[in-house]
Each structure stands twice: as structure tokens, then as C-alpha cells.
């Protein structure tokens, strides 16, 4: 690996990161003390150096060989002792210029093996030695000797009726022939071929290089004075960024390195990296990847990984390793060479002996023997695999397909079954609002599959929701209006929740043009649902959104039509939440402060609204294995005064809300004491510590580690509230007391959310079938849900209700049935199955998936589209096909030319030219892969 030393610059004393910066990165890696990391490896650098070396030898050889050939072939130019000039000119060519071949032949010979270089080296040495012998002792060195070099080979004398009349390259004086021009042209053409190969390697790496070199070159480092909170900026080279550094990315700039958003909102265009065309929204706490393009907002980021640790550098390494790998087909070529070369040497010897035995002259016998050696040189064979492999994997990388090993190509040929994990692979893995069913209204069939209309005399929504109804003549319009108003309420509450279902509801409302209602005093009932107060025309009403079982337990009655909707949704694999509105609600704390759960918040809803959290902390929590671990971490943190936490098992993270100042170290200590590993990632605050550093009315501060950062005037952005939510309506830190108070409440609506099928999945399935690969969908979901998705994308074979641990078993079963299986998955639970598939077939990981999945997979699909799986198979097969074409032509060429050479119908120069052409052909054939689709 080439490492370029980082430019020497004065130590960045003026932006020394705060103590927070020394916090180990989430992966547990502490940044290297120097903070400097080697410059990313440049793909193809070795090939470029090799090409440069070959070029040097070539530029020297070309004019020399031109003179040698001209003198040898044009008798008019031949003066007295011209042959000596040729001999001396050829010396550096056959030694220095041909040195790469001699060295390789010698290296192989020392290990008792022969390679194509053995043939080349042998050909050059034999030709030169023979010519020197002829010159010194064979009479070819006489003054005035000339040579005639016909380009059209004559028949050997034993086939020629005019026997003995003419021999190839015969010295007109009748003495021994000299072949210096032959030796020189072999070297020239071979150097040309090798240089083309090196250039092809270098060119093949273009796509990868552009991938790796697309990172930002500069970064705007932000320094925040810990005492005054003043910010200063300066421009630094991107590679100088260290873990923990804060840096600014303005619209139109590239993100310098993998980092976390500390401040600001924007959307990042990752199309260069992933091929996805839609920019991804990011906000405080989100992780962003280096080299993505910032679209509209200015972001303050904290560097999380730098140098060789970045995603971009890792991708580069993966590809480099893959290209260094040897395909089985390459080993095959080497094996063939190992046999081929000795056989050719034997044929050459036999030719020599046969010619001599048949009475040929020593010169013509040696000529034929040397021609055999030269023409058989299987350098095209050696080029066949690497050029195709390089061009093919470069082509794949341009489509966002990273092939991690060369063996993969061989395996794709045989793949006949592809197992697709449903969630995150066939589907997006993200929830989307499918339907809203209002109590007492006909089923909304515009959104979901039709299962019949059972409208009729349903329950009316209760007064709280009815207040939002728009009177209308049309029942349908009234239903729609009621639906919208209830959806607005649900979205208003859910906007304050981080739950995937909540996000789906809010996104669903937005896409239907429904503005989320303004709510206050939000409470998250962890694992159950959410509640908040809404001021309706009839006063304060409590809006509850959550699991049906939670609401039923709390005393809410669910009308029969909504129950049916719930059952249907569940049977179908969708998720459903129930909305209930309780009119004229007052939180108990309003009337009875003694009931307040958190004594520091006595004063009820108003006090709650007036007392926003001091800070929100995003924490990485490792070591959790089950739902009770989640509860344990939440409870442990909740026991600290002024702290409440929501823990997510899947992302191994905790969102901690502080209503009084608690240090990062204390929070980490609590989690560590519970037996887990907690590390604070970000801290966003509005509290005392921040206010101390605030001058203006901005009303917020961002904590970067423990460095307070002055907030921009957009105070609303300090608190990561969702769209449409007032800044004051912060999530509460305590549970609302619902006990025994919902007896009269009724559910108003059922909201069904479902994981959506990726738009490209159906096309990908068709493409896979066209490639002769049978798709099989695998999922832990129930049969009906799986069947529904399978039907939507056109997969006949669906294996449902598979436990994560059994996924590998399913793959193994298919393998036992004789299938060569490719598996596509993205999650930790797919890793075993991916590895199992990789044993005899292919494992493909979705780029959006976990690191584990990507580590065990043979192929990573960076853009997370199933169409890439088909493209990966297609490109791999095209590459393999090209390799085989190359091998065939290399062999066909050798097989065709050897007999001609044996008969002496090729002179060494033409043989070497033809041989060089075979290499060029192979390279050109490989380069066609660049246009493969």
C-alpha cells in the first residue's frame, strides 16, 4: 500500500477538540495519538508504476529495434560490418529491456516451474546466443555479408519442389544466419503488450479511482472557544481532520469525512457513492458519510471516522483486495501454462532434432526451433484473466456493486437460485402509512387491497374528533374530512415520537396534505404508544395513539369494525395503531400535584410545557440482547433524577432527555453499571450550561462533547422536534397517569402501516428469472404477509415464518437439494445465511445493511436495489465469458501457429509480431467489458 505522508503542518493547537472529542468512537476505537492517518490507497498505483517502467524500456527499445530491423531487412542499407552494429545495438535490448522477462523466468525456474516468461526469455537468449555464435564462428561476421529477409515464408526444403533453393533469412554468403532483429522484435512487441496490459489495469481502475478520489479536498474547521463560545473557522485540507473535530459543510460542498450532524438540517445527495438519486434528509444526530454532497442547508458536523477508517476508504480496500485475488479460472490458466511451457520446449527440441535428422542445415533447424518457442509464448493466456477481471470489477463498481473476491465470478456462473430476504431487500424496510380507517365508515379501499365493503351502521367517532368534522352533504366527503382530521391529530402526536410507525404516520399525513395538529404535553408510553393534549373547540382533549392492547387495557373500547380492521392488518403482516381521543381531559397533576410522578415537575401540564428539557443526549449502547435489556437501560437511566430515556435495541442507541444537568460521564457510568457499554455520541441542549454561553435571544445551544456551541438564530432547530410541532411541545419526561380514567373513551380510527416494496424489486425479479435464476423469498413474517409481497413482486416461492437463526438452515437445505444458491440480505440476522450461501454460491449484502452482513458477503450492493443483484450476476457472467473467450483465442492462436513454426514457415520476427497481436486482441476484448450493462 502506498502511503503518502501527510503534509507537515503546524500542530492544530487552535482547534484542539474538547474533552468530548477524546471519547472513543462508537466502535470503541480510540483515535491514534497522532491523529494522522495515511492517505487512502490509490487504486491501480502499482499498475501505473509498472506501466511507467515498461514505457521507459519501450521508448528506449523502439528506435533501437527500428534501426536493427531496417538494417537487417533492407539489403540496400547493409554496409560492411553492418551485422556487428546490429549485434551491439541488440545487446541492451536483449538484456536491459528484456530484463523483466528474464527475471520472471529465473524466479519461476528457481522454483522448478515454468511460466510464459520462461518461453520469452528462452527465445531471446537462444536467438541471441545463436546469432553471436554465427557472427563469431559461423562466418556471418565477414565484411560485406548481406542478409535477405523475405516477409512471406517459404516452404521448408523438404516440402518445396525446388528443394534447397532458398531458406529463410539466409545469409547470401552461405554462412550462418543471424537473428538479432528477431530477438529484438520479440522484446519490443512483448514490452508493448505488457505495457498495454499495465495500462489496461490502470484504466480499469478508473471507475474505482473516481470513486475514491471524489472525497472532499478541503474542510472548514470550526473552533469554538470554550470560554466565550465564539466560533472561528479556517480552511484545512480534508485529510487533516481528526476524530472529534467540528467542521462546517455549506450547501454545494462535499462532506469531508464520515461524521455526525451536530447542528442544522439538510439533505445529502449520496448518488456518487450509492447511485441513489434522491437526496436523504439529515438532521441533528444523524450519521453522514464522507463524499456525499450537501444540498441546501448548512451543517455543523463532528468527524467520527477519518482516513483509512472512512466508508470510502473501506470500499476502496475491499475492491483492491478483490482485484488482488486470483479467480479459479486464473489458476486454471496458470496450471495450463505449467504444462504448456515444457511441452512447447519439448516440441521446440523435437523440431530442432527432426530438422537436423531430415538433413536441414543447422541454421534452418535452429530457426524453426526458435520460432516454435516464440510463437507458443502464451502471454495472451496470462493476460486473459487479469485484464477481464479488472475491467469487469471496475465496471461493476461503477454500478455500485463491490465484488470482494475474484472467486465470485466463477460462482455466479453456476448460481441457479437466489434467496431474497424480504425486509430491507425486497421491501424498503421502512414503514409507510397504508390506510386510515375511521370508526363507522366504510373501509377505505383506495389504499389497500379490496377485501369487501362492510360499512353499515358503525359507531360514530366520539365528540372529541367530531369537533373537527366538516359538515358536508356527501357522506364520502364527510368520511374523508373526518379521516383527515383524525389523521391530523394522530400525526400531531406522532410527530414527537421517534418510532418507525410514528414516522410513517407523519409522513403519510404529509403526503396527503394533512397538517399535523398542534399538541402539548406529549408523553411517550414506552413500547405501548404515545399521548398528548390537543386544544379542541370543546377544550383540552387527550389524544392517544398506540397499540390496541394498551388502549384496551386502559379501558378504551374499540368498535367492531375497527377490530376487524386490526385483525385484517395483523393477519396481513401489517402493523396497526389505534387512535383514541378523550374529550375534556385534564392531567391529574393539574388538580392533584401529589400524584405527579416526578416531583421536580409538580405544576402539571403548564409547568411541563414551560420547562423544556435541558438537553437531549444521543448515546450508543452496546451489549443489549433482548427487550428486557432495553427496559433495564431505560429504567436505570430513568432512576437518575431529571433523566428519561428511550432505548432502541435495533440501533443500539438511547435518546436521553435531561430536565436537569447531568454530565455525559455520569450517564455513561449509569449504563456501564447496568452491565452495558454506553458512549455519548451527541448532546444537544438548551439548558443552563448552554445558556451561560449565549448572548442573544437565540435561545439554544448545541453541546459538542462538552464544548458549548452557540446556536444559530433558528432556535426551533435546537430541539429535534418534528415538522409541525411547536418548539414548546417537548416530549415529557414522565408517564401520564391514565389509570382508570379512560373507561368512557372509544377508539376513533385505526391507522395501518406497512413495510413498502421497493419500486425496483419487481423488475429485478423478472431480470433474475431471465438470467435463469429462480428467486425465493425468505422472511420471518407470517405467510399471508409474505405471500402478499411475493405476489406483488412476482416471486412464486415464498418461505415464511423463518426464525432468524433458521435462515442459514434454509439456504443449506436448498444447497443439499443440489442448488447453487445466492443469498441477498442486509441484516445481522442474515449474516449466517450469507456466509452459508457464500460457501458454495454467493452472499450479497445490501449496502444499507449492517457491517456484519457486508463482512461476510461476497458482493456488496452499494445502492441497496435488488436490480443490482441481477446486474451483479450479469456483469460477473459477462466477465467470466470474456475470460473464457480470451483463453480460447490464446490457445487457438498457439495451436494454430505451432505447426507453422515447426515447419519453418514462420520467421521469428513475424512470429513475435503475431504473438504480440494475440495479447493486444485479449486486452481489447477485455476492454469491451467496460461497456457491459
Amino acid at each position: 500500500m502506498t502511503t503518502t505522508p501527510a503534509p507537515e503542518t503546524p500542530a492544530p493547537a487552535d482547534h484542539t477538540p474538547g474533552p468530548g472529542a477524546q471519547t472513543p468512537t462508537p466502535s470503541g476505537q480510540t483515535p491514534a495519538p497522532s491523529g494522522r492517518s495515511p492517505a487512502p490507497h490509490r487504486i491501480g498505483e502499482g499498475a501505473r508504476g509498472h506501466a511507467a517502467d515498461l514505457s521507459r524500456r519501450l521508448w528506449f527499445t523502439a528506435p533501437v529495434v527500428t534501426v536493427v530491423v531496417a538494417l537487417s531487412m533492407v539489403p540496400a542499407l547493409q554496409f560492411g560490418y553492418w551485422q556487428w552494429v546490429v549485434a551491439i545495438l541488440s545487446l541492451p535490448v536483449v538484456t536491459w529491456a528484456a530484463w523483466p522477462f528474464h527475471r520472471a523466468a529465473f524466479t519461476a525456474g528457481r522454483h522448478g516451474s515454468t511460466t510464459m516468461d520462461t518461453l520469452v526469455s528462452l527465445g531471446v537468449v537462444v536467438t541471441s546466443v545463436w546469432s553471436w555464435w554465427a557472427l563469431l564462428f559461423g562466418g556471418a561476421g565477414r565484411w560485406g555479408a548481406t542478409m535477405d529477409m523475405p516477409l512471406v515464408p517459404a516452404l521448408p526444403w523438404f516440402l518445396d519442389p525446388n528443394s534447397g533453393a532458398h531458406q529463410i533469412g539466409a545469409m547470401s554468403h552461405g554462412g550462418a544466419d543471424i537473428y538479432f532483429e528477431g530477438a529484438c522484435t520479440i522484446v519490443l512487441f512483448l514490452l508493448l503488450g505488457r505495457r498495454m496490459e499495465a495500462k489496461a489495469r490502470w484504466n480499469a481502475g478508473d471507475a474505482l479511482r473516481s470513486l475514491l478520489e471524489m472525497g472532499a479536498k478541503h474542510a472548514t474547521l470550526v473552533h469554538i472557544d470554550p470560554a466565550t463560545g465564539e466560533r472561528s473557522q479556517r480552511e484545512v485540507p480534508a485529510e487533516q481532520l481528526q476524530v472529534g473535530d467540528l467542521f462546517l459543510v455549506r450547501p454545494g460542498e462535499k462532506v469531508a469525512t464520515d461524521s455526525i450532524v451536530v447542528e442544522g438540517d439538510s439533505a445529502l445527495d449520496a448518488s456518487l457513492l450509492t447511485g441513489e438519486s434522491v437526496p436523504v434528509d439529515v438532521t441533528v444526530g444523524d450519521r453522514v458519510t464522507g463524499a456525499t454532497m450537501n444540498t441546501w442547508g448548512t451543517l455543523l458536523l463532528r468527524a467520527e471516522r477519518v482516513g483509512a477508517e472512512t466508508t470510502l476508504a473501506q470500499i476502496g480496500r475491499l475492491v483492491t483486495e478483490a482485484q488482488a485475488g486470483k479467480a479459479p479460472v486464473q489458476r486454471l490458466a496458470d496450471r495450463i501454462s505449467g504444462v504448456f511451457v515444457p511441452v512447447v520446449m519439448a516440441i521446440s527440441l523435437v523440431t530442432l532434432v527432426a530438422w537436423l535428422a531430415l538433413g536441414g542445415s543447422v541454421q534452418s533447424s535452429v530457426t524453426a526451433a526458435v520460432a516454435v518457442l516464440v510463437v507458443a509464448c502464451p502471454c495472451a493466456l496470462g493476460l486473459a484473466t487479469p485484464t477481464a477481471l479488472l475491467v469487469g470489477s471496475g465496471r461493476a463498481a461503477r454500478s455500485g456493486i463491490l465484488i470482494t473476491s475474484a472467486e465470485v465470478l466463477e460462482q455466479t456462473r453456476r448460481v441457479d437460485t437466489i434467496v431474497l430476504d424480504k425486509t430491507g431487500t425486497v421491501t424498503s424496510g421502512r414503514m409507510a402509512l397504508e390506510s386510515v380507517r375511521v370508526a363507522g365508515s366504510p373501509r377505505d379501499d383506495s389504499l389497500g387491497p379490496s377485501l369487501g365493503d362492510e360499512g353499515g351502521a358503525g359507531d360514530r367517532v366520539h365528540s372529541g374528533a367530531r369537533a373537527h368534522e366538516h359538515p358536508s352533504d356527501s357522506a364520502g366527503a364527510r368520511d374523508n374530512a373526518r379521516e383527515d382530521s383524525l389523521l391530523a391529530l394522530a400525526a400531531g402526536v406522532e410527530a414527537l415520537s421517534e418510532h418507525p410507525v410514528a414516522r410513517a404516520v407523519v409522513a403519510g399525513a404529509n403526503s396527503r396534505g394533512v397538517t399535523p395538529a398542534q399538541v402539548q404535553a406529549f408523553t411517550n408510553h414506552a413500547g405501548l404508544g404515545v399521548s398528548a393534549l390537543h386544544t379542541g373547540p370543546e377544550g383540552s382533549e387527550l389524544v392517544l395513539v398506540g397499540r390496541a392492547s394498551w388502549l384496551v387495557d386502559a379501558g378504551v373500547s374499540i368498535p367492531s369494525d375497527l377490530r376487524e380492521e386490526l385483525d385484517r392488518a395483523e393477519a396481513d403482516g401489517a402493523s396497526a395503531v389505534v387512535l383514541a381521543v378523550v374529550p375534556a381531559w385534564q392531567d391529574r397533576a393539574d388538580t392533584d400535584p401529589a400524584d405527579a410522578i416526578a416531583p421536580s415537575h409538580v405544576g402539571g401540564v403548564d409547568a411541563l410545557v414551560a420547562a423544556p428539557p435541558v438537553a437531549v443526549v444521543e448515546m450508543d449502547v452496546q451489549g443489549m440482547t433482548c427487550a428486557s435489556c432495553v427496559r433495564r437501560v431505560e429504567r436505570k437511566l430513568g432512576k437518575v433524577e431529571g433523566v428519561s430515556a428511550t432505548v432502541n435495541l435495533a440501533t443500539e442507541s438511547a435518546r436521553i432527555t435531561l430536565t436537569r444537568e447531568v454530565s455525559n460521564a455520569d450517564l455513561e457510568a449509569v449504563v456501564d453499571a447496568a452491565g452495558y457499554r454506553g458512549r455519548v455520541l451527541t448532546r444537544t441542549g438548551t439548558g443552563a450550561e448552554g445558556k451561560a454561553n449565549l448572548e442573544g435571544p437565540a435561545g439554544g445551544a448545541i453541546f459538542a462533547g462538552t464544548d458549548p456551541v452557540q446556536e444559530s438564530p433558528a432556535a426551533g432547530k435546537v430541539w429535534p422536534s418534528a415538522a409541525g410541532a411547536p418548539a414548546s411541545a417537548c416530549p415529557s419526561v414522565r408517564a401520564r397517569d391514565l389509570s382508570g380514567r379512560l373507561g368512557s373513551a372509544r377508539a376513533g380510527a385505526v391507522l395501518v402501516v406497512r413495510d413498502t416494496v421497493k419500486p425496483t424489486s419487481a423488475a429485478a425479479v423478472r431480470e433474475l428469472e431471465r438470467l435463469g435464476v429462480t428467486p425465493v423469498m425468505l422472511t420471518g413474517d407470517n405467510r399471508r404477509a409474505a405471500r402478499a409481497v411475493g405476489d406483488e413482486v412476482g416471486i412464486d416461492r415464498v418461505i415464511a415464518e423463518v426464525l432468524p437463526a433458521d435462515k442459514a438452515r434454509v439456504v443449506a437445505d436448498l444447497q443439499e437439494q443440489g442448488h447453487v444458491v445466492a443469498m441477498v440480505g442486509d441484516g445481522v440476522n442474515d449474516a449466517a445465511a450469507l456466509a452459508q450461501a457464500g460457501r458454495a454460491g454467493l452472499g450479497m449484502a445490501m449496502g444499507s445493511g449492517t457491517d456484519v452482513a457486508r463482512q461476510v458477503a461476497d458482493i456488496t450492493l452499494v445502492n441497496s436495489e435488488l436490480t443490482s443483484a441481477a446486474a451483479a450476476i450479469r456483469i460477473s457472467r459477462a466477465t467470466l465469458r470474456t475470460i473464457k473467450q480470451n483463453l480460447f483465442w490464446a490457445f487457438a492462436y498457439n495451436v494454430a501457429m505451432i505447426p507453422l513454426a515447426m515447419l519453418g514457415m514462420l520467421n521469428p520476427m513475424i512470429a513475435s509480431a503475431a504473438m504480440a497481436f494475440s495479447s493486444v486482441f485479449v486486452v481489447l476484448n477485455s476492454l469491451r467489458l467496460r461497456a457491459a450493462s
Partner: protein, 79 residues
């Protein structure tokens, strides 16, 4: 001096060492609890043996188990 008593609790829903730690800590926090021992039986009912002094009633133990996030399926008091 109070005489120690042993109570055996049947607890549902415990799956891992962290669950054991949760239940143990919650029970140990109950005033009067002297010792807690858990036999984890993942996927089925786990046995929790609690040594208490006389002042501890079932409700306090039930509450502690609930606080830890699990369901108390039964209490066997051994006098």
C-alpha cells in the same frame, strides 16, 4: 431478631443474564430482602429464591418484579 424466610417466585419472560441482573437488583432494593438467587430458565418460568426478614410482604416483591419488567406467575412462601 427477625427470623429469615425463603420465598420462591415464579417469574415469566426472563431471557438472559441481563434479565437476571434486573430482577436481582430490583428485589434487593426491597427493604427487608437479604438475598436473591435466580435460576434462569429461558423461555419458560424462572425460579427466583428470595431470602427475606419477616417484614416483607408479597405485594412488595410483586411490585419489584413488575418494576423490573417481568410477570410474577406465582409465589411460594415457605414458613
Amino acid at each position: 431478631m427477625a427470623i429469615d424466610r425463603t420465598v420462591v417466585l415464579d417469574v415469566n419472560g426472563m431471557t438472559c443474564g441481563h434479565c437476571v441482573a434486573s430482577v436481582t437488583e430490583e428485589l434487593e432494593d426491597v427493604k427487608g430482602v437479604l438475598n436473591v438467587e435466580v435460576i434462569l430458565n429461558s423461555g419458560a418460568t424462572s425460579k427466583v429464591t428470595v431470602v427475606t426478614d419477616q417484614g416483607v410482604d408479597d405485594a412488595a416483591l410483586r411490585e419489584a418484579v413488575a418494576e423490573a419488567g417481568f410477570e410474577l406467575a406465582g409465589i411460594h412462601r415457605d414458613f
